[in-house]
């Protein structure tokens, strides 16, 4: 019984991790940015959804929509106010831009976290689920919302896959991640490619935040942990590799669930962290390397 429980819970949480990490890896693959305010964006989205759906009583659907839009807006602000000025800066040398973007997005993430903490305190907030109730799944009582979470996550991932592999605009994203200079020579403005990828990223991060808020609840304090978990998953799967991130999300998700159920919930992240260190030492390019 507990095996099945782990299987179901692990699947839901892993899907959510995958959704959270996929945007993170996309933005790195296409524009080379490691966005350490990732967790902050997710928290903003979750809190807006909670606010609109719960406090303003607009219902879970409008709430979720508002959360996703908030994620999108926050992503654009991150790009225009924090990332792009550094990328275009003349006084920061190229080799140092990476560390500057890391530090700046980290600070920005703290600012987002503090804004939420200031206006809404740092208590955990649970977004009203899109679907309430409990269903019996092969003898395991599973909240409907858990299933919704997994289904929506996979829908979003599937749509992203279609967008990138089956549409003309999507192909330019792929091309930009392989050879941005080549894309420029073909007459595509990289700036508009980046705009598109940040938009996709914002929607994905927003959605992940809303679903997480409905599934486990989110507090302003979780921002750092969320960033760390996305970062770990992405590195485990290989920086910039979308399929690697998906696999890594499941490895981490199940490892955590198994640890929590069989050993102790208090150390649920430890085995995954150790695995991460091991992988980074033995295979720095990650499980799958670059696509």
């Amino acid at each position: 019984m507990i095996g099945l429980q782990i299987l179901i819970d692990g699947f839901a949480i892993s899907s959510l991790y995958a959704l959270g990490a996929i945007g993170f890896t996309l933005i790195f693959g296409v524009s080379g940015v490691l966005n350490l305010s990732h967790g902050g964006l997710m928290v903003i989205a979750a809190v807006v959804a909670w606010l609109v759906a719960g406090t303003y009583g607009m219902g879970p659907y409008i709430g979720a929509l508002a959360g996703v839009v908030a994620g999108l807006i926050a992503a654009f602000i991150t790009y225009f106010v924090v990332v792009r000025p550094i990328q275009n800066s003349r006084s920061i040398r190229e080799v140092e831009k990476e560390i500057f973007i890391l530090t700046a997005t980290l600070l920005w993430g703290i600012m987002l976290q503090e804004v939420v903490a200031y206006f809404f305190t740092d208590t955990p907030k649970t977004v009203p689920p899109l679907l309430s109730g409990v269903v019996n799944l092969l003898g395991v009582r599973t909240p409907s919302n858990e299933i919704v979470t997994a289904v929506i996550s996979w829908l979003a991932i599937g749509l992203l896959w279609l967008l990138v592999n089956r549409t003309r605009r999507g192909k330019t994203l792929l091309a930009a991640s392989i050879n941005p200079r080549g894309l420029t020579l073909l007459g595509f403005e990289l700036s508009s490619v980046y705009l598109l990828v940040w938009a996709i990223y914002g929607v994905l991060a927003g959605l992940a935040g809303v679903l997480l808020g409905a599934f486990l609840g989110v507090s302003s304090n979780s921002a750092g942990l969320l960033t760390a978990s996305a970062f770990s998953i992405v590195v485990l799967g290989g920086l910039g590799s979308v399929s690697g991130s998906l696999i890594a999300a499941y490895v981490v998700g199940y490892l955590e669930t198994i640890t929590a159920y069989l050993i102790s919930p208090s150390i649920r992240t430890v085995p995954a962290l150790l695995l991460l260190v091991l992988v980074v030492y033995l295979r720095p390019q990650g499980l799958l390397g670059r696509r």
Binding site: I99, A104, E114, V270, V277, V280, P284
Partner: protein
């Protein structure tokens, strides 16, 4: 050389800082005491980042290892503070070596990530062995450096001045020059006949030693050791921000940045929770508009004259 006016200015500032207890109360002194200890950690971090060219996202791994080693020896074995500090520093160096020997093979974000994960693992271990370490609540150490805030202030100031002098001495010595060359371009440095790994590892050890000592001093000042004061990632972030704010590759800038951060947090205290927001925003603005940090502003003015 421009050295003498700078040196005189530094001496004047240090004397002024030493005389500060004559003019200000215990509360301010307490804040500055904290700022000085964190300042040492920031300076040790800048040695790695600014000179060896390695981004250590987990300075608190080194600080925490040193602090907890010192605290546990004091608590369980009842060793003297001096012995505990020495062992804390040593433990940080050993921990740093275990981390750095494999990690230095990695480049770019991977080195940063491993150091970041090291902090999380240390944090988890401390919580896991809560019975011995005190877990989330922390552990009270039996001994403290001093009870009187003025004495504590002088201890911290002395510690910072000595550490700063030693770190600067190292960074601006011929070895520091080699270290900077390895950080700037490892290939060229090795073609000039320098063993890059050896120099970076040495810098990591020095950084670890001062971080560990600072962690030990900090807990014997506070009287307790806890994750929140010496391990937590928010502390690591503060350390890094202080160094970047003050000006990278300067060592001293890191201490200035640290004092600024604690000072600004205090001045903004009336804003309550929002103070962290404002401090972060100011730090972000400095990074975006004056990427060289405070010291570069000073230097620019000096150059203009």
């Amino acid at each position: 050389m421009l050295k003498s006016p700078k040196f005189i200015a530094t001496i004047i500032v240090i004397v002024a800082m030493a005389l500060l207890p004559l003019g200000v109360g215990g509360y301010v002194l307490g804040l500055l005491t904290l700022a000085y200890y964190y300042g040492v950690i920031s300076m040790a971090w800048d040695l790695l980042f600014g000179f060896a060219g390695e981004v250590n996202f987990g300075p608190t791994f080194l600080v925490g290892t040193g602090a907890y080693a010192a605290a546990m020896l004091n608590y369980y074995a009842g060793w003297s503070i001096a012995a505990c500090l020495a062992c804390g520093g040593l433990a940080a160096v050993i921990g740093g070596l275990i981390l750095a020997i494999p990690a230095l093979r990695l480049s770019g974000p991977y080195f940063g990530l491993v150091t970041l994960v090291a902090v999380l693992i240390l944090q988890n271990i401390i919580v896991l062995f809560a019975g011995t370490t005190g877990g989330e609540i922390g552990l009270s150490v039996p001994d403290v450096l001093a009870i009187d805030p003025v004495t504590n202030y002088w201890y911290a100031l002395g510690f910072m001045v000595i550490s700063g002098a030693l770190l600067c001495g190292y960074a601006y010595s011929p070895v520091g020059l080699i270290l900077q060359a390895t950080g700037q371009d490892a290939v060229e440095a090795s073609a000039l006949g320098f063993n890059v790994t050896k120099h970076k590892l040495a810098a990591f050890c020095v950084s670890a030693l001062f971080s560990g000592l600072a962690g030990g001093m900090l807990i014997f000042y506070l009287g307790t050791v806890s994750v929140g004061t010496v391990v937590d990632l928010t502390i690591a972030v503060q350390v890094i921000i202080a160094a970047v704010l003050g000006g990278r590759r300067t060592i001293i800038g890191a201490a200035i940045g640290s004092i600024f951060l604690i000072g600004a947090g205090e001045i903004l205290r009336p804003l309550g929770q929002l103070s962290t927001f404002v401090v972060s925003a100011v730090a972000l603005a400095v990074i975006l508009f004056f990427p060289g940090g405070f010291l570069s502003l000073l230097q620019r003015r000096e150059g203009a004259q």
